[in-house]
Protein backbone atom coordinates (compact mmCIF):
# COMPACT_ATOMS: atom_id res chain seq x y z
CA UNK A 1 0.00 0.00 0.00
CA UNK A 2 1.57 3.30 -1.11
CA UNK A 3 0.91 6.42 0.93
CA UNK A 4 1.08 9.96 -0.43
CA UNK A 5 1.30 13.47 0.94
CA UNK A 6 -1.58 15.04 -0.94
CA UNK A 7 -1.91 18.43 0.71
CA UNK A 8 0.10 20.72 2.98
CA UNK A 9 -0.48 23.80 5.10
CA UNK A 10 1.56 26.15 7.25
CA UNK A 11 0.95 28.89 9.76
CA UNK A 12 3.43 31.52 10.86
CA UNK A 13 2.14 33.91 13.53
CA UNK A 14 2.37 37.68 13.21
CA UNK A 15 4.61 39.66 10.87
CA UNK A 16 8.16 38.61 9.91
CA UNK A 17 10.56 39.86 12.57
CA UNK A 18 13.93 41.13 11.34
CA UNK A 19 17.26 40.42 13.01
CA UNK A 20 17.43 43.74 14.85
CA UNK A 21 13.80 43.51 16.06
CA UNK A 22 14.15 40.17 17.79
CA UNK A 23 15.27 41.46 21.16
CA UNK A 24 12.38 43.93 21.12
CA UNK A 25 9.94 41.01 21.00
CA UNK A 26 11.63 38.57 23.38
CA UNK A 27 12.62 41.45 25.65
CA UNK A 28 16.00 42.63 26.87
CA UNK A 29 16.78 40.79 30.11
CA UNK A 30 16.89 43.32 32.98
CA UNK A 31 16.72 45.98 30.29
CA UNK A 32 20.23 45.21 29.04
CA UNK A 33 20.91 44.24 25.44
CA UNK A 34 22.49 40.82 25.03
CA UNK A 35 26.20 40.51 24.34
CA UNK A 36 25.72 37.29 22.41
CA UNK A 37 22.75 38.11 20.18
CA UNK A 38 24.62 39.57 17.23
CA UNK A 39 27.26 36.86 17.24
CA UNK A 40 24.71 34.03 17.30
CA UNK A 41 22.46 35.65 14.71
CA UNK A 42 25.40 36.27 12.41
CA UNK A 43 26.30 32.63 12.40
CA UNK A 44 22.77 31.26 12.02
CA UNK A 45 22.03 33.74 9.19
CA UNK A 46 18.27 33.65 9.86
CA UNK A 47 16.96 36.93 8.44
CA UNK A 48 13.32 36.82 9.51
CA UNK A 49 11.23 34.67 11.83
CA UNK A 50 7.82 34.78 13.51
CA UNK A 51 6.70 34.89 17.11
CA UNK A 52 3.38 34.06 18.74
CA UNK A 53 4.05 36.65 21.42
CA UNK A 54 3.86 40.41 21.09
CA UNK A 55 6.31 43.12 22.16
CA UNK A 56 4.99 42.91 25.70
CA UNK A 57 5.65 39.17 25.66
CA UNK A 58 1.94 38.41 25.74
CA UNK A 59 0.87 35.31 23.83
CA UNK A 60 -0.99 36.14 20.64
CA UNK A 61 -1.56 32.57 19.40
CA UNK A 62 -1.55 29.41 21.49
CA UNK A 63 0.37 26.41 20.23
CA UNK A 64 -2.95 24.64 19.71
CA UNK A 65 -4.26 27.53 17.63
CA UNK A 66 -1.18 27.61 15.38
CA UNK A 67 -1.42 23.86 14.84
CA UNK A 68 -5.12 24.20 14.08
CA UNK A 69 -4.54 27.01 11.59
CA UNK A 70 -1.90 25.02 9.70
CA UNK A 71 -4.15 21.93 9.76
CA UNK A 72 -7.15 23.91 8.50
CA UNK A 73 -5.17 25.34 5.61
CA UNK A 74 -3.97 21.86 4.72
CA UNK A 75 -7.51 20.41 4.80
CA UNK A 76 -8.92 23.37 2.86
CA UNK A 77 -6.42 22.76 0.09
CA UNK A 78 -7.15 19.03 -0.07
CA UNK A 79 -9.58 17.14 -2.29
CA UNK A 80 -11.23 15.20 0.54
CA UNK A 81 -13.88 16.00 3.06
CA UNK A 82 -12.84 16.28 6.70
CA UNK A 83 -14.75 13.18 7.74
CA UNK A 84 -12.39 11.01 5.70
CA UNK A 85 -9.56 11.83 8.11
CA UNK A 86 -9.20 8.78 10.34
CA UNK A 87 -6.16 9.80 12.31
CA UNK A 88 -4.66 12.99 13.71
CA UNK A 89 -1.00 12.91 14.75
CA UNK A 90 0.43 16.02 16.38
CA UNK A 91 4.06 16.71 17.23
CA UNK A 92 5.44 19.43 19.45
CA UNK A 93 8.20 20.06 21.96
CA UNK A 94 5.75 21.50 24.44
CA UNK A 95 2.01 21.72 24.11
CA UNK A 96 -0.05 24.37 25.86
CA UNK A 97 -0.89 21.90 28.60
CA UNK A 98 1.47 19.37 30.23
CA UNK A 99 -1.59 17.10 29.97
CA UNK A 100 -3.58 15.99 28.04
CA UNK A 101 -1.67 15.42 24.82
CA UNK A 102 -1.78 18.20 22.29
CA UNK A 103 -3.53 16.05 19.68
CA UNK A 104 -6.65 16.12 21.88
CA UNK A 105 -6.61 19.90 21.97
CA UNK A 106 -6.02 20.25 18.23
CA UNK A 107 -8.76 17.75 17.47
CA UNK A 108 -11.17 19.77 19.58
CA UNK A 109 -10.22 23.04 17.86
CA UNK A 110 -10.59 21.44 14.44
CA UNK A 111 -13.87 19.82 15.40
CA UNK A 112 -12.91 16.49 13.84
CA UNK A 113 -15.16 13.80 15.32
CA UNK A 114 -14.20 10.32 16.55
CA UNK A 115 -10.82 9.84 15.07
CA UNK A 116 -7.67 8.14 16.27
CA UNK A 117 -5.15 10.54 17.81
CA UNK A 118 -1.48 10.47 18.61
CA UNK A 119 0.72 13.05 20.33
CA UNK A 120 4.43 12.79 19.62
CA UNK A 121 6.57 14.48 22.22
CA UNK A 122 10.21 15.25 21.55
CA UNK A 123 12.03 18.10 19.86
CA UNK A 124 12.72 18.53 16.14
CA UNK A 125 12.38 14.87 15.20
CA UNK A 126 8.99 14.47 16.88
CA UNK A 127 7.48 15.55 13.55
CA UNK A 128 9.02 12.50 11.88
CA UNK A 129 7.81 10.25 14.70
CA UNK A 130 4.24 11.47 14.22
CA UNK A 131 4.53 11.20 10.46
CA UNK A 132 5.87 7.67 10.62
CA UNK A 133 3.04 6.52 12.87
CA UNK A 134 0.47 8.05 10.52
CA UNK A 135 2.19 6.58 7.46
CA UNK A 136 2.17 3.13 9.06
CA UNK A 137 -1.49 3.32 10.01
CA UNK A 138 -2.35 4.00 6.37
CA UNK A 139 -0.03 1.24 5.21
CA UNK A 140 -1.90 -1.10 7.54
CA UNK A 141 -5.07 0.06 5.81
CA UNK A 142 -6.62 1.19 9.08
CA UNK A 143 -7.42 4.59 7.63
CA UNK A 144 -7.73 6.23 4.24
CA UNK A 145 -6.37 9.58 5.35
CA UNK A 146 -4.33 10.91 8.25
CA UNK A 147 -3.47 14.46 9.20
CA UNK A 148 -0.01 15.11 10.65
CA UNK A 149 0.66 18.46 12.32
CA UNK A 150 3.78 19.83 13.95
CA UNK A 151 3.76 23.06 15.89
CA UNK A 152 6.17 24.97 18.11
CA UNK A 153 5.79 27.91 20.45
CA UNK A 154 9.35 28.34 21.69
CA UNK A 155 9.14 32.06 22.38
CA UNK A 156 7.22 31.53 25.61
CA UNK A 157 10.34 29.81 26.93
CA UNK A 158 12.64 32.48 25.58
CA UNK A 159 10.99 35.67 26.78
CA UNK A 160 12.92 37.90 29.17
CA UNK A 161 10.77 37.13 32.19
CA UNK A 162 11.95 33.49 32.21
CA UNK A 163 15.56 34.54 32.59
CA UNK A 164 14.84 37.33 35.04
CA UNK A 165 13.01 34.93 37.33
CA UNK A 166 15.90 32.44 37.35
CA UNK A 167 17.72 34.30 40.11
CA UNK A 168 19.65 31.29 41.42
CA UNK A 169 20.54 29.76 38.06
CA UNK A 170 23.82 29.35 36.20
CA UNK A 171 22.51 32.17 34.00
CA UNK A 172 22.34 34.52 36.98
CA UNK A 173 25.77 33.47 38.23
CA UNK A 174 27.76 33.78 35.03
CA UNK A 175 28.46 36.99 33.16
CA UNK A 176 27.99 35.05 29.90
CA UNK A 177 26.13 31.73 29.93
CA UNK A 178 26.34 30.71 26.29
CA UNK A 179 24.58 27.37 26.72
CA UNK A 180 21.52 28.99 28.30
CA UNK A 181 21.32 31.90 25.90
CA UNK A 182 22.19 30.16 22.63
CA UNK A 183 18.69 28.96 21.73
CA UNK A 184 17.17 32.34 22.51
CA UNK A 185 18.55 33.65 19.23
CA UNK A 186 17.88 30.47 17.28
CA UNK A 187 14.30 29.32 17.76
CA UNK A 188 10.98 30.85 16.77
CA UNK A 189 7.33 29.88 16.32
CA UNK A 190 5.17 28.30 13.64
CA UNK A 191 3.22 25.23 12.54
CA UNK A 192 3.03 22.95 9.52
CA UNK A 193 0.62 20.23 8.44
CA UNK A 194 0.63 17.37 5.95
CA UNK A 195 -2.29 15.29 4.77
CA UNK A 196 -1.46 11.65 4.10
CA UNK A 197 -3.71 9.54 1.89
CA UNK A 198 -3.73 6.08 0.39
CA UNK A 199 -3.95 7.55 -3.13
CA UNK A 200 -2.44 10.59 -4.86
CA UNK A 201 -4.44 13.80 -5.11
CA UNK A 202 -6.59 13.88 -8.28
CA UNK A 203 -4.77 17.00 -9.49
CA UNK A 204 -1.34 18.50 -9.08
CA UNK A 205 1.67 17.20 -7.22
CA UNK A 206 1.60 14.51 -4.54
CA UNK A 207 4.60 13.07 -2.75
CA UNK A 208 4.79 9.31 -2.28
CA UNK A 209 6.41 8.38 1.02
CA UNK A 210 9.01 5.72 0.16
CA UNK A 211 10.44 5.20 3.64
CA UNK A 212 10.95 6.88 7.00
CA UNK A 213 13.86 5.83 9.23
CA UNK A 214 15.36 6.99 12.49
CA UNK A 215 18.41 6.21 14.62
CA UNK A 216 18.62 7.44 18.21
CA UNK A 217 21.91 7.49 20.12
CA UNK A 218 20.62 8.47 23.57
CA UNK A 219 22.17 5.34 25.05
CA UNK A 220 25.65 6.73 24.46
CA UNK A 221 25.55 10.51 24.74
CA UNK A 222 24.66 12.91 27.54
CA UNK A 223 21.65 15.20 27.02
CA UNK A 224 22.49 18.08 24.72
CA UNK A 225 19.32 20.19 24.47
CA UNK A 226 16.76 20.22 27.23
CA UNK A 227 14.30 21.96 29.49
CA UNK A 228 13.65 20.69 33.00
CA UNK A 229 16.89 20.64 34.95
CA UNK A 230 19.16 23.31 36.35
CA UNK A 231 22.09 22.47 34.10
CA UNK A 232 24.42 21.50 36.94
CA UNK A 233 26.16 18.14 36.81
CA UNK A 234 25.83 17.53 40.55
CA UNK A 235 22.08 18.26 40.64
CA UNK A 236 20.00 15.42 39.28
CA UNK A 237 16.62 16.91 40.11
CA UNK A 238 14.18 17.66 37.36
CA UNK A 239 11.61 20.43 37.58
CA UNK A 240 8.89 18.51 39.41
CA UNK A 241 11.30 17.39 42.13
CA UNK A 242 11.50 20.92 43.56
CA UNK A 243 9.14 21.80 46.40
CA UNK A 244 7.38 24.38 44.30
CA UNK A 245 7.38 25.26 40.62
CA UNK A 246 8.61 28.67 41.72
CA UNK A 247 11.71 27.02 43.22
CA UNK A 248 12.31 25.17 39.97
CA UNK A 249 12.09 28.41 38.04
CA UNK A 250 14.41 30.24 40.43
CA UNK A 251 16.98 27.46 40.03
CA UNK A 252 16.78 27.78 36.25
CA UNK A 253 15.26 24.33 35.81
CA UNK A 254 12.69 25.73 33.38
CA UNK A 255 15.19 27.42 31.07
CA UNK A 256 15.98 25.87 27.72
CA UNK A 257 19.61 24.85 27.36
CA UNK A 258 21.92 23.56 24.70
CA UNK A 259 25.27 22.02 25.54
CA UNK A 260 26.99 23.52 22.53
CA UNK A 261 30.17 21.50 23.07
CA UNK A 262 28.27 18.32 22.28
CA UNK A 263 26.60 19.66 19.13
CA UNK A 264 29.18 18.29 16.71
CA UNK A 265 28.03 14.79 17.62
CA UNK A 266 24.65 15.29 15.98
CA UNK A 267 26.31 16.11 12.67
CA UNK A 268 28.51 13.02 12.93
CA UNK A 269 25.58 10.80 13.83
CA UNK A 270 23.60 12.37 11.00
CA UNK A 271 26.27 11.36 8.53
CA UNK A 272 26.55 7.92 10.13
CA UNK A 273 22.82 7.35 9.66
CA UNK A 274 22.96 8.42 6.05
CA UNK A 275 25.99 6.21 5.37
CA UNK A 276 23.98 3.36 6.85
CA UNK A 277 21.04 4.03 4.54
CA UNK A 278 23.40 4.29 1.56
CA UNK A 279 25.11 1.04 2.57
CA UNK A 280 21.75 -0.71 2.80
CA UNK A 281 20.93 0.61 -0.67
CA UNK A 282 17.87 2.38 0.75
CA UNK A 283 19.10 5.78 -0.42
CA UNK A 284 21.35 6.49 -3.41
CA UNK A 285 22.98 9.90 -3.06
CA UNK A 286 23.38 10.29 -6.83
CA UNK A 287 19.64 9.82 -7.30
CA UNK A 288 18.56 12.46 -4.79
CA UNK A 289 17.08 15.34 -6.79
CA UNK A 290 16.17 17.57 -3.86
CA UNK A 291 17.52 17.59 -0.35
CA UNK A 292 15.40 19.18 2.39
CA UNK A 293 17.67 19.28 5.39
CA UNK A 294 16.55 20.73 8.69
CA UNK A 295 19.67 22.42 9.98
CA UNK A 296 19.17 24.81 12.83
CA UNK A 297 21.77 27.32 11.78
CA UNK A 298 23.67 28.19 8.64
CA UNK A 299 26.92 27.32 10.35
CA UNK A 300 25.90 23.66 10.35
CA UNK A 301 25.08 23.61 6.65
CA UNK A 302 28.69 23.80 5.53
CA UNK A 303 29.67 21.19 8.07
CA UNK A 304 27.02 18.75 6.87
CA UNK A 305 27.99 19.39 3.25
CA UNK A 306 31.65 18.74 4.04
CA UNK A 307 30.99 15.64 6.08
CA UNK A 308 28.71 14.06 3.48
CA UNK A 309 31.18 14.85 0.70
CA UNK A 310 34.10 13.46 2.61
CA UNK A 311 32.16 10.29 3.34
CA UNK A 312 31.59 9.84 -0.39
CA UNK A 313 27.81 10.36 -0.12
CA UNK A 314 27.71 14.05 -0.91
CA UNK A 315 24.62 15.75 -2.34
CA UNK A 316 25.57 18.79 -4.45
CA UNK A 317 24.63 22.10 -2.86
CA UNK A 318 22.37 23.11 -5.75
CA UNK A 319 20.03 20.27 -4.78
CA UNK A 320 19.57 21.61 -1.25
CA UNK A 321 16.51 23.70 -0.52
CA UNK A 322 15.45 25.38 2.70
CA UNK A 323 13.42 28.31 3.98
CA UNK A 324 15.26 28.49 7.30
CA UNK A 325 16.53 31.98 6.49
CA UNK A 326 13.09 33.53 6.06
CA UNK A 327 10.81 31.37 8.25
CA UNK A 328 13.22 30.73 11.11
CA UNK A 329 14.09 27.59 13.00
CA UNK A 330 10.74 26.32 14.21
CA UNK A 331 12.02 23.02 15.63
CA UNK A 332 9.58 20.19 15.01
CA UNK A 333 7.53 22.37 12.68
CA UNK A 334 10.46 23.22 10.40
CA UNK A 335 10.30 20.27 8.03
CA UNK A 336 6.56 20.56 7.39
CA UNK A 337 6.80 24.34 6.89
CA UNK A 338 9.66 23.62 4.51
CA UNK A 339 7.76 20.99 2.51
CA UNK A 340 4.74 23.30 2.27
CA UNK A 341 6.73 26.15 0.75
CA UNK A 342 8.91 23.84 -1.35
CA UNK A 343 5.81 22.61 -3.17
CA UNK A 344 4.78 26.18 -3.95
CA UNK A 345 8.03 27.96 -4.68
CA UNK A 346 8.97 29.03 -8.19
CA UNK A 347 12.60 28.34 -7.40
CA UNK A 348 12.16 24.64 -8.05
CA UNK A 349 10.53 22.77 -10.88
CA UNK A 350 9.27 19.39 -9.80
CA UNK A 351 8.90 16.58 -12.28
CA UNK A 352 7.39 13.13 -12.08
CA UNK A 353 9.60 10.55 -10.41
CA UNK A 354 12.01 12.98 -8.77
CA UNK A 355 13.37 11.93 -5.41
CA UNK A 356 13.31 14.16 -2.34
CA UNK A 357 15.41 13.30 0.68
CA UNK A 358 14.40 14.83 4.01
CA UNK A 359 16.67 14.85 7.03
CA UNK A 360 15.75 16.00 10.53
CA UNK A 361 18.49 15.68 13.15
CA UNK A 362 17.58 16.35 16.79
CA UNK A 363 20.31 17.38 19.18
CA UNK A 364 18.14 16.79 22.29
CA UNK A 365 19.72 13.44 22.92
CA UNK A 366 20.93 12.69 19.43
CA UNK A 367 18.15 11.32 17.27
CA UNK A 368 18.55 11.38 13.50
CA UNK A 369 15.58 10.87 11.16
CA UNK A 370 15.35 10.53 7.40
CA UNK A 371 12.57 10.25 4.85
CA UNK A 372 12.43 9.74 1.10
CA UNK A 373 9.61 11.09 -1.04
CA UNK A 374 8.92 10.63 -4.73
CA UNK A 375 7.13 13.22 -6.85
CA UNK A 376 3.88 11.96 -8.37
CA UNK A 377 2.00 14.21 -10.79
CA UNK A 378 -1.59 13.88 -11.93
Amino acid sequence: MSVYITSTGAFLPGPPIAVEEVEGVLGAIHGKPSWLRVQIQKSNKIQTRHYAIDKNQQTTHSNTLMATNAASECLDRSYISRDKVGMLAVATTQGDHPAPGMASMVQAELGLPELEILTAHGICSSSMMALKAAWNSLRLEEHEAALVVSSELASRLLKKQRYEAATKSTFAEKSVDFNTEFLRWMLSDGAGALLLQNRPAPKGVSLRIDWVRGFSHAHAFPTCMSVGSAGRVDDERTWQDYDTYADAETAGALLMRQDVRLLDNILRMGVDGYLRLAEEGVSKPAEVDHFLCHYSSHQFKDKILELLDAAGVGIPEERWWTNLYTRGNTGAASLFIMIDEFLRTDEVELSEGQTILCFVPESGRFNTTYMQLTVVKQ
Binding site: P222, R261, N265, R268, D272, L275, A310, G312
Partner: protein, 243 residues
Protein backbone atom coordinates in the same frame (compact mmCIF):
# COMPACT_ATOMS: atom_id res chain seq x y z
CA UNK B 1 47.85 8.94 9.82
CA UNK B 2 44.26 9.42 9.03
CA UNK B 3 41.96 11.10 11.47
CA UNK B 4 39.04 8.75 11.07
CA UNK B 5 36.07 10.83 10.19
CA UNK B 6 37.10 13.13 12.96
CA UNK B 7 39.08 15.30 10.65
CA UNK B 8 37.07 14.28 7.71
CA UNK B 9 36.89 17.60 5.89
CA UNK B 10 40.65 17.86 5.86
CA UNK B 11 40.96 14.29 4.71
CA UNK B 12 38.76 14.95 1.75
CA UNK B 13 40.62 18.00 0.55
CA UNK B 14 43.88 16.18 0.78
CA UNK B 15 42.57 13.05 -0.81
CA UNK B 16 41.35 14.90 -3.86
CA UNK B 17 44.55 14.08 -5.71
CA UNK B 18 44.00 10.36 -5.15
CA UNK B 19 41.35 8.45 -7.01
CA UNK B 20 40.54 5.51 -4.82
CA UNK B 21 39.60 2.31 -6.62
CA UNK B 22 35.95 1.25 -6.07
CA UNK B 23 36.86 -1.37 -3.45
CA UNK B 24 38.93 1.12 -1.50
CA UNK B 25 36.09 3.65 -1.70
CA UNK B 26 33.63 1.14 -0.33
CA UNK B 27 36.08 0.16 2.36
CA UNK B 28 36.58 3.78 3.34
CA UNK B 29 32.83 4.28 3.77
CA UNK B 30 32.61 1.24 6.00
CA UNK B 31 35.62 2.42 7.99
CA UNK B 32 33.91 5.77 8.49
CA UNK B 33 30.94 4.04 10.05
CA UNK B 34 33.16 1.97 12.31
CA UNK B 35 34.93 5.16 13.37
CA UNK B 36 31.70 7.06 14.04
CA UNK B 37 30.37 4.19 16.14
CA UNK B 38 33.66 3.95 18.04
CA UNK B 39 33.73 7.68 18.68
CA UNK B 40 30.12 7.62 19.88
CA UNK B 41 30.73 4.69 22.20
CA UNK B 42 33.73 6.43 23.76
CA UNK B 43 31.15 8.76 25.30
CA UNK B 44 29.99 5.83 27.43
CA UNK B 45 33.43 5.29 29.01
CA UNK B 46 33.08 6.83 32.49
CA UNK B 47 36.40 8.65 32.53
CA UNK B 48 35.84 10.12 29.07
CA UNK B 49 32.25 11.03 29.84
CA UNK B 50 33.63 13.30 32.52
CA UNK B 51 35.36 15.28 29.75
CA UNK B 52 31.92 15.71 28.13
CA UNK B 53 30.23 16.60 31.41
CA UNK B 54 32.97 18.90 32.63
CA UNK B 55 33.91 16.93 35.77
CA UNK B 56 37.27 15.54 34.60
CA UNK B 57 40.01 16.05 37.21
CA UNK B 58 43.81 16.00 37.39
CA UNK B 59 43.54 12.54 38.98
CA UNK B 60 41.58 11.38 35.93
CA UNK B 61 44.27 12.79 33.68
CA UNK B 62 47.06 11.02 35.54
CA UNK B 63 45.08 7.79 35.41
CA UNK B 64 44.53 8.13 31.66
CA UNK B 65 48.19 8.88 30.93
CA UNK B 66 49.39 5.96 33.09
CA UNK B 67 47.17 3.64 31.09
CA UNK B 68 47.94 5.04 27.67
CA UNK B 69 51.69 4.66 28.00
CA UNK B 70 51.69 0.89 27.61
CA UNK B 71 49.53 1.12 24.54
CA UNK B 72 51.92 3.60 22.98
CA UNK B 73 54.96 1.46 23.75
CA UNK B 74 53.30 -1.65 22.36
CA UNK B 75 52.06 0.33 19.36
CA UNK B 76 55.64 0.88 18.24
CA UNK B 77 56.22 -2.86 18.50
CA UNK B 78 53.31 -4.17 16.52
CA UNK B 79 53.78 -1.64 13.77
CA UNK B 80 57.40 -2.63 13.26
CA UNK B 81 56.42 -6.29 13.44
CA UNK B 82 53.78 -5.63 10.79
CA UNK B 83 56.37 -3.96 8.54
CA UNK B 84 58.58 -7.04 8.71
CA UNK B 85 55.65 -9.28 7.80
CA UNK B 86 55.16 -7.72 4.37
CA UNK B 87 56.94 -9.57 1.55
CA UNK B 88 58.70 -8.01 -1.43
CA UNK B 89 55.46 -7.72 -3.36
CA UNK B 90 54.37 -5.20 -0.74
CA UNK B 91 57.58 -3.17 -0.59
CA UNK B 92 55.77 0.14 -0.94
CA UNK B 93 53.48 -0.36 1.99
CA UNK B 94 56.38 -1.72 4.02
CA UNK B 95 58.32 1.50 3.41
CA UNK B 96 55.33 3.59 4.46
CA UNK B 97 54.83 1.64 7.65
CA UNK B 98 58.52 1.77 8.55
CA UNK B 99 58.64 5.51 8.17
CA UNK B 100 55.47 5.86 10.21
CA UNK B 101 57.01 3.75 12.94
CA UNK B 102 60.11 5.95 12.95
CA UNK B 103 57.87 9.01 13.44
CA UNK B 104 56.09 7.66 16.45
CA UNK B 105 58.03 4.87 18.12
CA UNK B 106 59.29 7.04 20.98
CA UNK B 107 56.07 8.94 21.61
CA UNK B 108 55.76 7.35 25.02
CA UNK B 109 58.58 9.62 26.23
CA UNK B 110 56.36 12.61 25.50
CA UNK B 111 53.65 10.96 27.50
CA UNK B 112 55.97 10.44 30.47
CA UNK B 113 56.88 14.14 30.41
CA UNK B 114 53.17 15.04 30.36
CA UNK B 115 52.65 12.83 33.37
CA UNK B 116 55.35 14.56 35.41
CA UNK B 117 54.13 17.99 34.28
CA UNK B 118 50.67 17.05 35.56
CA UNK B 119 52.07 16.39 39.02
CA UNK B 120 52.62 12.63 38.72
CA UNK B 121 55.68 10.73 39.87
CA UNK B 122 57.79 9.29 37.09
CA UNK B 123 58.18 5.97 38.90
CA UNK B 124 54.39 5.54 39.00
CA UNK B 125 53.99 5.74 35.24
CA UNK B 126 57.13 3.69 34.57
CA UNK B 127 55.93 1.00 36.93
CA UNK B 128 52.44 0.74 35.47
CA UNK B 129 51.47 -2.62 34.01
CA UNK B 130 49.30 -3.08 30.96
CA UNK B 131 45.66 -3.02 31.98
CA UNK B 132 43.31 -5.82 31.02
CA UNK B 133 42.17 -4.11 27.84
CA UNK B 134 45.74 -3.22 26.83
CA UNK B 135 46.66 -6.90 27.18
CA UNK B 136 43.85 -7.91 24.87
CA UNK B 137 44.57 -5.18 22.35
CA UNK B 138 48.29 -5.81 22.33
CA UNK B 139 47.84 -9.58 22.06
CA UNK B 140 45.48 -9.21 19.12
CA UNK B 141 47.66 -6.72 17.26
CA UNK B 142 50.84 -8.74 17.71
CA UNK B 143 49.00 -11.81 16.48
CA UNK B 144 47.66 -10.08 13.39
CA UNK B 145 50.93 -8.37 12.56
CA UNK B 146 52.81 -11.66 12.71
CA UNK B 147 50.84 -13.03 9.78
CA UNK B 148 52.11 -12.72 6.24
CA UNK B 149 51.11 -9.50 4.48
CA UNK B 150 48.76 -8.29 7.23
CA UNK B 151 46.89 -5.70 5.16
CA UNK B 152 43.94 -5.85 7.55
CA UNK B 153 46.02 -3.77 9.97
CA UNK B 154 45.05 -0.72 7.97
CA UNK B 155 41.82 -1.05 9.92
CA UNK B 156 43.80 -0.87 13.18
CA UNK B 157 45.73 2.19 12.03
CA UNK B 158 42.47 3.89 11.06
CA UNK B 159 41.12 3.61 14.59
CA UNK B 160 44.30 4.31 16.51
CA UNK B 161 45.37 7.26 14.40
CA UNK B 162 41.83 8.59 14.33
CA UNK B 163 41.85 8.60 18.10
CA UNK B 164 45.15 10.43 18.14
CA UNK B 165 43.61 13.14 16.04
CA UNK B 166 40.50 13.24 18.21
CA UNK B 167 42.67 13.74 21.31
CA UNK B 168 44.28 16.73 19.65
CA UNK B 169 40.99 18.12 18.38
CA UNK B 170 38.67 17.71 21.29
CA UNK B 171 40.49 16.55 24.41
CA UNK B 172 43.73 18.49 24.86
CA UNK B 173 42.34 22.00 25.25
CA UNK B 174 39.24 20.88 27.09
CA UNK B 175 41.36 19.00 29.62
CA UNK B 176 43.47 22.10 30.23
CA UNK B 177 40.32 24.14 30.71
CA UNK B 178 38.79 21.67 33.17
CA UNK B 179 41.89 20.91 35.24
CA UNK B 180 43.88 24.12 35.09
CA UNK B 181 46.82 22.12 33.72
CA UNK B 182 48.94 23.73 31.02
CA UNK B 183 49.97 22.67 27.51
CA UNK B 184 52.88 20.83 29.08
CA UNK B 185 50.43 18.24 30.38
CA UNK B 186 48.74 17.49 27.07
CA UNK B 187 51.63 17.47 24.60
CA UNK B 188 51.17 13.86 23.69
CA UNK B 189 47.54 14.54 22.81
CA UNK B 190 48.18 17.78 20.93
CA UNK B 191 51.12 16.41 19.00
CA UNK B 192 48.97 13.91 17.15
CA UNK B 193 47.08 16.65 15.40
CA UNK B 194 50.18 17.97 13.70
CA UNK B 195 51.32 15.27 11.31
CA UNK B 196 47.82 14.44 10.34
CA UNK B 197 47.86 15.73 6.77
CA UNK B 198 50.84 13.67 5.64
CA UNK B 199 49.57 10.61 7.39
CA UNK B 200 46.24 10.96 5.69
CA UNK B 201 47.73 10.91 2.23
CA UNK B 202 49.85 7.90 3.09
CA UNK B 203 46.81 6.08 4.41
CA UNK B 204 44.79 6.71 1.26
CA UNK B 205 47.67 5.55 -0.92
CA UNK B 206 48.02 2.34 1.10
CA UNK B 207 44.30 1.68 1.05
CA UNK B 208 44.17 2.15 -2.70
CA UNK B 209 47.08 -0.22 -3.16
CA UNK B 210 45.95 -3.10 -0.98
CA UNK B 211 42.19 -2.88 -0.97
CA UNK B 212 41.53 -4.44 -4.36
CA UNK B 213 38.77 -6.95 -3.67
CA UNK B 214 35.92 -7.71 -1.30
CA UNK B 215 38.03 -10.02 0.80
CA UNK B 216 40.53 -7.27 1.49
CA UNK B 217 37.72 -4.85 2.34
CA UNK B 218 36.09 -7.20 4.77
CA UNK B 219 39.34 -8.10 6.53
CA UNK B 220 40.32 -4.42 6.95
CA UNK B 221 36.86 -3.52 8.23
CA UNK B 222 36.72 -6.48 10.60
CA UNK B 223 40.09 -5.65 12.12
CA UNK B 224 39.01 -2.04 12.57
CA UNK B 225 35.95 -3.28 14.48
CA UNK B 226 37.97 -5.56 16.73
CA UNK B 227 40.52 -2.84 17.45
CA UNK B 228 37.75 -0.32 18.16
CA UNK B 229 36.18 -2.69 20.66
CA UNK B 230 39.47 -3.63 22.33
CA UNK B 231 40.61 -0.01 22.46
CA UNK B 232 37.40 0.93 24.22
CA UNK B 233 37.93 -2.00 26.59
CA UNK B 234 41.36 -0.61 27.38
CA UNK B 235 39.83 2.77 28.17
CA UNK B 236 37.05 1.20 30.23
CA UNK B 237 39.68 -0.63 32.25
CA UNK B 238 41.71 2.45 33.19
CA UNK B 239 39.89 2.82 36.46
CA UNK B 240 40.02 -0.84 37.39
CA UNK B 241 42.89 -2.20 39.39
CA UNK B 242 44.61 -5.43 38.39
CA UNK B 243 43.86 -7.20 41.65
Amino acid sequence: MIGGVSNISKSNQEAEGINLNPNAQKCLQQLLRVWLGFERDLSTVPLLRRIDLGTYTIEDHLCLLRNLRQQVIEGARWITRAASSFDRNHAEIRSTIISHAVDEHRDYELLEQDYVASGGKIEDILGMERNIGSEALHGYLMHRSSRQNPIDLLGAMWIIEGLGEKMARSWAERIQELTGLTEDSTRFMSYHGHNDGDHMLRFYAMLDEVCVDEMATSSIVKTSKVVARLYRLQLEEVEHGLE
